[in-house]
Amino acid sequence: MVNPLWLFALSLGAAFLLPLVDRLGRRIALVLVHGVTAAWLAAGLSWLAVLLSGGEAAEFGTAGFRAPLAIVLRVGLAEAAGVTAIALTGLLAAFSLTRSLREAPLGGAMALLMALMGLSGIVLTRDLFNLFVFLEISAIGTYGLLGFDDRKPALRSAFKYMIAGGLASSLYLIGVIYVYRLADTLNLDIAAAGTALSGPAGTAAVFFLLAALLVELKPFPANGWAVDAYETAHPGISAILSGASATALLLALWKILPLLGPAHLSLVAGSGLATFAAGNLVGARQDRPLRMLGYSSVAQVGLVAAVAALARLGGLGDGGADFAAAVAGGLLLNHLLAKTGLFLLAGAVEDDDARGRLAPLSLAAAGVLSAALVGLPPFPGFWAKWRLVRALADSGLWWILAIVLGGSLLEAFYVFRWLGLRAKGEAGEAPVRLGIRSAGPVLAALLLAAAGALAGIRGPVPDLLLWAPWAAAAILFLLDGTPGWLKGLLSVAAAAAFGAAAWDRLDGFRQFFAVMLLGGGALFSIAALRKGGPRRGLHPLLAAATLALGAILVARTPLEFFFAWETMTAASWLLVLRGRGGEKPALSYIVFGLGGAFLLMAGLAAGGWDGGIAAAGWPGLLVLVGLLVKAGALGVHVWLPGSYAESDDESSGFLSSALSKAPIFALFALALSLGAALPGGPWTSRALGWLGLATALGGALYAVYQEDIKRTLAYSSLGQIGYILLAFAAMDQAGWTTSLYLALNHFLYKSMLFLAVAGVIQRTGTRNMYEMGGLIKKMPVSFLSVLMAIIALSGVPPLSGFGGKWLLYSTLIGKGWYLETAVAFFASAVAFLYLYRLIHSIFLGQPKPSQANVREAPVALVLPQLVLMAVLMAVSVFPRLMLDPILALVGDRFPAAFVFEGTRLRSALGYWDGTLTMIVTGGVFALCLVWMLANLHNPQSVKQFNIVFAAERPLRPETTHYAWRFFEPYRKALGFLTRERAERFWDAFGTGAASVGGALRRLYTGNGQTYALHVVLYVAVLYLLLGVL
């Protein structure tokens, strides 16, 4: 192990030599600076290598003496990791600082060296006063760095920074001296061993130490000065501040933890949590990226401190040290790399004052960094957060769990809002090229991904199949330049391979859903070939989402399930973000998606699901509510229409027909794990039934008034999901059979509808129905597919849709839910309205001159539609093809409700013979057709204006096509049912949270003195609280 003292000598020597070397040339001086940082990094890595391969911590006394006479530097696992982290952040920041360092006076370079050395010193030293010295060195280095390139705003915030720094150092000094006076040693280990500090005086002395460190860690009320520094300084310096100095100070806090009594620990935990919550609340109100990142880093640091304190205080997890290292360490590593990368990235964009879209590479880096920051898989933050939640749930600290989840949801909101802005950029702005400056963030992103993957695979999720989505995404992103069809085939192959690999591991139930989920993904990957060109980003995300759905099926333990679930949420969110108008809907998609996922996580964590026997109590309910949010039940459906409408046509088809089945599968899995019952007993199933019914009715009623095709289809999917929920809630063989039958049917005809609509939109270029018309003559196959789909969806007899309706009503009447039956009937009648409007406005009515040269949809869309049509027709003529497997699946869990007699399905109430119905309908139809053709005399086919128009000639096709506000009388009659109450509720909720943030924001008045007052008051309050605890 290299003796750290050499490194200090190296740094100091380099700092003194710099003016001389500068004579030779500024470039060489900078090489020297970077060389020293690289040396620190190499040393840190070597220590890590030694320690990880079994070596123990080594201690190095200064000047050969032993403690307490000498200053002892210890190199344990934590210290080695700390030094490596600091050196790494320093190196990344140094790269971005090089240009300004070259122009600015030499002081900047020296300050950088000193700051990094000071931070590493904080980590290594075991001596309290030496800790103070390194604290001050790094503080002075930071002050120098803040003002080195004389950015005027940076000067202002540097001054405020110094005031607070001065206060903190004085506090620390008083604390150190009284600790020395009581324990008469400055060495940490000895002081901790003795009992001198346990008395009232000792507690007070240690309090001063703690207060200083806490102020340095920028706690909530007293961190105005810090956020100003983050906002105004050069991004490299902000990265150092938020990454390196936070790590050093947290490790310093970690070191003095043994000194702290239970009162101190609860102070740290309380202040940390308060900082986390308030930082995120105020962060949500920020519109300047760097200031937002400042609040976010303050919040993250608060969380890590709180976790460290809680670990020691409440015995969180299975015993303090190991758990704290894993969780606090994971969160810190996550925060460190993510913040560094984001600061460098955001700073570069702000410096160029660019408002356009980010270039693909830096956009990918930004995406990875913000996903890691929020805690999406597979980054270290995810694993840490999972263990934290499990530990909090086990020890019953519910309100802390709520704060942690609420805070990270808020953080997700504003970080992804920023990402959405950068991904889309303001209209008309040229894309932003960052060039070399994006190297730092990309490196940080790669490190994050590597660390996360390593932690995942070696840790809780060893099964490689679950990592398939990420692997597929990575490979296809690399191949993004290749032509679209190649990537399409690759993603289809990936889906097929995954299916084959996982098939035998799935039980019958999961195989049924695998057909829909994987099949849907492959289907829409093929559909994505409809347009030429590379279609950057579509195929990787589509493949990732498909395999994530597959992973959900393959997962066994709760963590594996949740890992796959969050992967699916992330991939589908990016799909929505990719759509042309996708920025706003994507934000609401991810916020609701994560909200649901966090409820799911809390439920899974609390439920103790490992043995598969879930606590049937309210953890199960939490999971149920989380799944309902993802399924889009009425009330929490506000994210659904925007996301389905604004994303690309293929991805909205995939979202609505395949991905919407994932929550359904999860509901079934939840019920199965509870022994075919719902948590919370019978009233839950009745409530879920009514919720499903409300969704069905709400979806149908909203869909009636939409002008945009894809919004109509989105609400229609919402409605159909409602039916599936209603049938599932019946919790008996009839109900489950209906639910599965409806799910598969919905997959069939919704895919047909979305494929056809994609073709129509591509050909006509618009999504408004009233701008189309008369396309039957130009797109006959699409018309046929839409016709069959709406006949099936509305439940009109010959096709399989009627089977779904028959099963549903037999279930509901059999179960005695009579009112639900009537409302279900009304909802399915309302479905007629928007279905007819869809096919009338697009395919029938008056063709428009502008769409005269429209051709049939591309083959990539027509082929899948033909296949689906064939399948639908087959299932309609022989219902047993679909019903037999479903009945077998559901068979053994409930008493039999349906039984097949030949082709007739009999239930307690009635019977239905699909084949005979089809034969009779076909025969009657043929009879009438023959009768019509026989009597047709001299038919003259006429054009669109040969209509009886009150003896006038129609003026223009646009004014003769009745399509705009098609059901206006219906709105006049039943408008009160669809007054967008859910949207208004969630807007109010958002404004409420924003106003809390706004109120807290008023604390940061920008006046340095006020910030100093906050620091002093904060310390005073802590002291008073100390007395109380």
Binding site: N938, V942, V948
Partner: protein
């Protein structure tokens, strides 16, 4: 009017601007030969028993049609009933004077009726211009523009006269001599020339299917 291969020559439709010619069908009218005698007689009997009048009231004659629906005259007894669209009606009652504007609409509605179709002209104005004999704006002889089957004279004939007229129309139909549609198709150019001489702003296709 059909070319060598028996395919009808499409009409020119100059009245329409170039961009709108695609919106209208440009096939010329055709003669439809009646079926075999026995079948045609039976069909004519059915046509005579079910006369559906087009609800197109021109001039003061329209008001005479309303009493026929009431209990005093009750045309339903004879199987006559009003229909709102020319597609489904077989009798076009021209009730009184026809200005140039009205003639243009009469021509369009008449051509949109399905054959066999019959025209009953009421009042002296349709015969020889009536009291509008010197007006700059009134058609003085309707049968120059569309074929007429039955004239009912009077300056406005009473509903009883109308019923008598309809009995006469029934007799003509049963006799098979009400072939106005074929006659219109045969002399289509002549009729169209007369019409275009009077109707100046012809923004419609030549034959309105």
């Amino acid at each position: 009017m059909s070319d060598k291969k028996g395919k009808p020559v499409p009409l020119a439709n100059e009245g329409l601007p170039a961009g709108e010619r695609g919106l209208f069908c440009d096939a010329p009218p055709r003669e439809y030969a009646p079926a075999a005698k026995i079948v045609e007689d039976f069909w004519n009997w059915a046509r005579s028993q079910s006369l559906w009048i087009l609800g197109f009231g021109t001039g003061c004659g329209a008001i005479e049609l309303r009493p026929l629906m009431t209990s005093r005259y009750d045309m339903y007894r004879f199987g006559i009933q009003p229909r709102p669209t020319p597609r489904q009606s077989s009798v076009f009652v021209i009730g009184g004077y026809a200005s140039v504007k009205t003639l243009k609409r009469i021509v369009r509605s008449y051509e949109q009726m399905m054959g066999p179709k019959f025209v009953v002209a009421l009042g002296s104005c349709t015969i020889n211009g009536g009291m509008y004999w010197d007006s700059y704006n009134t058609i003085k002889r309707i049968d120059q523009y569309i074929p007429v089957d039955v004239y009912i004279a009077g300056c406005m004939p009473r509903p009883e006269a109308l019923l008598a007229g309809f009995q006469e129309l029934k007799r003509i139909i049963r006799a098979g001599k009400a072939e106005g549609q074929n006659e219109y198709a045969r002399n289509f150019e002549w009729y169209k020339a007369n019409q275009k001489r009077v109707i100046k702003d012809w923004n419609m296709p030549d034959y309105n299917w």
